[in-house]
Subunit: 214 residues, 2 copies
């Protein structure tokens, strides 16, 4: 794999998030058959500014041609590579409730190269069954599965009170990255990547703005 050139030690998380958004837009342009795109066009397509687009890309190298713009296919590939999406990622979901089930079926993950491999739950009625073609196993089997299948990423969609416990098990099983949906502060060793997605917080930002923006 080509080594990735990074010019700065610390890259703003906002930049990563925008790169992900650029990536989707480029994907759209690729499918549309567009060959070349400028920072201004990207900016327009994703509600940003040309300077921001160029700055974000500049953290990682020079991908464009002055006076011309960017080759869509090439830039698309470069950004996927930056994001680590040149490979598919096997992901497990812990928690087979409504949210876990919905995430299993969620097209948005598949489209980006994330493959849901298995669900882990403690409900006896669910264990051993399948959701579509995704098997549901007992949580007790999780550690072995992660190790055997070399799983690096897990999504935690269990009730809040069990979240830390589940995360501890995942850490024990040597998982590398966790996306947590439980609205609780979860602690992990610093070498583990953790990302909290709090759905209610998002609604609360909206209510705050409704109340306060004039």
């Amino acid at each position: 794999m080509k080594a990735l050139k990074i010019k700065a030690l610390k890259i703003p998380e906002a930049t990563i998030i925008r790169l992900s958004v650029y990536s989707r837009y480029l994907d759209y342009l690729v499918k549309k058959g567009v060959a070349t795109v400028s920072s201004g066009e990207i900016a327009e397509g994703v509600n940003s500014s040309p300077a921001q687009v160029r700055k974000d890309l500049a953290y990682f190298g020079e991908f464009g041609t002055r006076g011309v713009g960017y080759n869509v296919q090439n830039l698309h590939k470069e950004i996927l590579n930056i994001l680590g999406l040149e490979q598919k990622w096997g992901v497990i979901i812990v928690g087979g409730g409504n949210l876990g089930t919905a995430l299993t079926q969620y097209k948005g993950f598949q489209e980006r190269g994330f493959v849901i491999k298995a669900i882990f739950d403690n409900d006896e009625d669910k264990i051993g069954t399948k959701l579509g073609d995704i098997p549901i196993y007992a949580v007790s089997e999780m550690e072995e599965y992660i190790s055997k299948e070399k799983i690096k990423m897990a999504i935690v969609a269990v009730p809040s009170r069990y979240a830390q416990e589940v995360v501890n098990k995942l850490v024990e099983a040597d998982i590398k990255a966790i996306m947590n949906f439980a609205p609780r502060v979860i602690t992990v060793p610093k070498e583990i990547e953790l990302r909290n997605v709090d759905l209610a917080v998002n609604l609360e930002v909206l209510t705050f703005n409704l109340k306060n923006k004039n």
Copy 2:
């Protein structure tokens, strides 16, 4: 309603998000029966710093007693008020697929005072049925419902290609705030509050970090 004192014109969104997190922690302390809490204890409880906690609160007023700390119940109420959560909010969900269905059942919304009132979908098989006690209606009935029930907030959980169209309908129906799950750039008039929740982006931040942090 007591007018909210805001000391700065612009409050960082990060502050709002943290307030929401503080709020959950205070909720936990209230239930635990704790009477008083310091900024340091809050910081510890939510993985932040005492200075950050105090700074965040300082945008909105003085809620503590020097040498003592904060009255848990009072601070909890104040923050709920800041976030606009002193009232319940009726919310509709557009899209009765896996995600929409899961969000309908999602306890995290109810716990924070959000009440899912109805689902809107175009699937003839679903229209007229109920999900738990939440009715599913046709999208064509949406505008009237929003107006009649005075709904201010909507969650969009439809396939990406329909998202803008649905959002346009919501805007037309005079909705005030939208939480969008479709990974597409959506445009709304500036007076409408829009928040995009992109689930895949969160996984991609993780893969980026896995690849690049060391």
